[in-house]
Symmetry: C3
Subunit: 342 residues, 3 copies
């Protein structure tokens, strides 16, 4: 009856269901400039056409996380409008860089369902693909969310839990066509540290911090056409507008330039947890840990697996307490693969 979108409830999902998300988006230099205004992003490959060309690409792409945010934003009206919590990510793969002029849309498939024992909520797993105007998949990822039931009496579906990789191996990653770091300019990139300079287990405190403002996180979240009410309506949550978790991901990744300036391209997302909610006024800092390293077939291109942790204070390198719970200052724990000159 009502013409507004009530969002889907847990009982509205079924295994194999395909959700074609609405509102495709053509990106331009405007999205790119805004990304650099919203985050202290300085990775040279995403800042300069000439630098990107010297690495074998046709031009400087839109930031990999901006592409992720656009693709993610389209899924919100169909996947998480009635979500209680965003539980996790897995098997995220960037398959093609996105350039100004490209148009992105998203399609999700329901790959897992499990009703919670309280009978009021359930967990929905979707695999989302972002496609460009040539119907090429530019990235894909799995996300699972806890969603409310509308009718508590609705029968529980058969539990299906997808078999997800805990971590992508380097063979699961796609190196952008033509990428070549053999003539990489470390001076223009901003740091001398190459792939071989990083050791597994090494931790880096990225030092810098940014205090979050209401206007900024809303500009970002709207730019990605993410419609989740909790980010915009101050009357909705008495403790303040909840900041879109992706804002923290982008902020932390941009802050990680200081120490990881050569971790240029993000190609894999192994897992991610929004450990604690973030509100305006908090100052976000970040630290990283090198989790793994691997060679690739592309000239001069190494892969590095990184844990990226965003905090709202406290000492760097603090992650979990002895009981395995995230420290109260941890906002984000992200596990991703990036490409770095060897």
């Amino acid at each position: 009856m009502a013409k507004t979108n009530p969002g889907r409830f847990f009982e509205d999902y079924s295994i194999g269901q395909v959700l074609e998300h609405a509102v495709p988006r053509t990106v331009s230099g405007g999205e790119r400039a805004l990304y650099h205004a919203l985050y202290p992003a300085r990775h040279a490959l995403y800042s300069s056409d000439q630098f990107a060309q010297s690495c074998g690409l046709p031009a400087s792409p839109i930031d990999d996380l901006a592409a992720f945010h656009v693709i993610f934003g389209k899924t919100v009206p169909d996947v998480s409008l009635n979500a209680v919590a965003n539980l996790g990510y897995a098997e995220g793969r960037w398959l093609k860089p996105v350039y100004p002029g490209d148009t992105l849309r998203s399609v999700s498939e329901v790959i897992g369902l499990k009703e919670n024992s309280n009978g009021k909520t359930g967990v929905v797993y979707v695999r989302t693909r972002g496609l460009n105007q040539r119907d090429e998949t530019v990235m894909e990822y799995v996300r699972w969310v806890m969603v409310r039931k509308n009718d508590p009496a609705a029968p529980a579906p058969e539990t299906v839990l997808p078999d997800l990789k805990k971590t992508l191996s380097v063979g699961d990653l796609t190196i952008p066509e033509g990428l070549d770091f053999s003539g990489y300019d470390f001076t223009l990139a901003g740091e001398p540290h190459r792939w071989s300079d990083y050791a597994i287990g090494e931790k880096i405190d990225h030092v810098d911090g940014v205090t979050i403002e209401e206007a900024e996180h809303m500009l970002a979240t709207r730019l990605w056409q993410n419609t989740a009410k909790v980010h915009f309506d101050l009357t909705f949550r008495p403790e303040g507008r909840l900041i879109y978790g992706g804002h923290i991901i982008s902020m932390a990744r941009a802050l990680s330039f200081n120490g990881l300036a050569n971790a240029q391209m993000i190609v894999g997302l192994n897992s991610g947890a929004h450990a604690n909610p973030c509100f305006a006024g908090l100052t976000v800092k970040a630290w990283s840990e090198v989790l793994d390293k691997a060679e690739t077939a592309a000239p001069g291109v190494g892969a590095i697996r990184l844990r990226l942790v965003a905090t709202k204070g406290g000492d760097p390198f603090t992650l979990k307490s002895e009981d395995g719970k995230y420290d109260g200052n941890v906002l984000l724990d992200l596990d991703y693969w990036a490409l770095m000159p060897m």
Copy 2:
């Protein structure tokens, strides 16, 4: 003597006077991205080049209201710098979509004058046209404002009240050349409701809300090169910076996506009232009422006349009290024609 612009006072206007407004503006993907960062705008035709092309247009235009704001902004230094109040709009018609790369300028003609009985102010009616770089009129509208007299002793002009249509008829509207909704993709547009699903008299609560921030309304108002001091200078008005009425128009229109996702293109503005002032910190919501419907000659394209009401709280569908005054929560009452797939 002073080189700064004092603005025009009531006695400076005369019937038939033509005001060629300054500072033409070339728009790009930057304006488009900012529009989507400032408002939760999701109408697919303004988001995706491919979607616009599937509707017969060469590319995705700049939002119709962004075009309006640019054209309006240019008139402020000549029309409303000394305005006491923005009283109304009429006969607004969008004639050609505006695309990135177009350059807009504005020209107004004084079509009405009436001194108020207090002898201190008067009402000025102007018809403003926005022109592109090919001197084609892309939109036009009538606006009337109350303007201060500089010299209270200046003689009152002969009263001339323009004969304005209360409402544009469908024959007054211009359908963009080539527009064709016969292959319209409702899935990508985001809602299944077509022209025939809306009934005259139907009311829609758009549900979502956005809490207004100082930085955002100033970014928007500056982007349109609107120079009205009250929007920027906190020392000017003790109760806070007055938010540009156009910011509320765009916010409400964007919120109306939820229930009116297929009211794609705005082609007519029948009337508009900024019922109450808006300040930062308020949460804006919106509701709509279907006022009329009409068929058009373009394939698959219907016209729908909508009342769009922005509020800062209270129950939806409340508009005026019994004495005919706007409810204290109503910020905007706008009457416009949009195009929708049949």
Copy 3:
């Protein structure tokens, strides 16, 4: 050991040292739109491609100050990360307009060093050049900053003070190739005042004010990839985030449109002082003084030397007290050359 950039300390600089700054930047219509959203910029040559073409340029350039900010921002990690104060500018020259699609990078040479008598800090003078993708210098300027020593025991370098022009003469200025103001459209530019209407010694109160917001100055400062911590991290300075001095320069220059709408292009920067720090919540106003005038060889193009003063209150035209110190309300004292139709 640590991979993060500690910045250079005073003892790390030597005369003749060349610093190739990192992270080149391709600018687009996005930077241009953001500039107009962040500042009330209305100079027609930077707003309209057609207006710029009528002045002999191929298109509307990116604002001269935006080009300056991009070039300046790249120097921060190498020059001023450990700066105690930004002391001055000299010999700033804009040599080529910057257009969307251009890629900028920066190179600095150390041209002066002087340790302070306290042995803890010293003054570093650098001449910075901004280059485009064709390795053409688009602008250059000298800046000197006070920088901390890391090791107080480090020996003082030989004092070298560069011989800097107090003021550029008109012969030092470069007029953009093709610039021709002989067919200048004063109506579209917004004011009738031409070069001959301005008298040396004339002062102009630009009247308008803008109250500064946290989100806005951070968006601007990040957009220029300026990494100075004091602008972003509220925990860093208890009294509030210090606003990037360049934000005040751009704000004051944009406000100066009202009275100097025809001072179109900035071609020389003689000197500049950030007289007092600025924080969010302050309302910035501006006034100008005509310091000099000169003819140029370009058709219809005059040069005008202006003092631009930004204030946070007080009476206009107040600059220094009797003891030669800046008045507490003065934020900026800038001395520059602009080009104006004769």
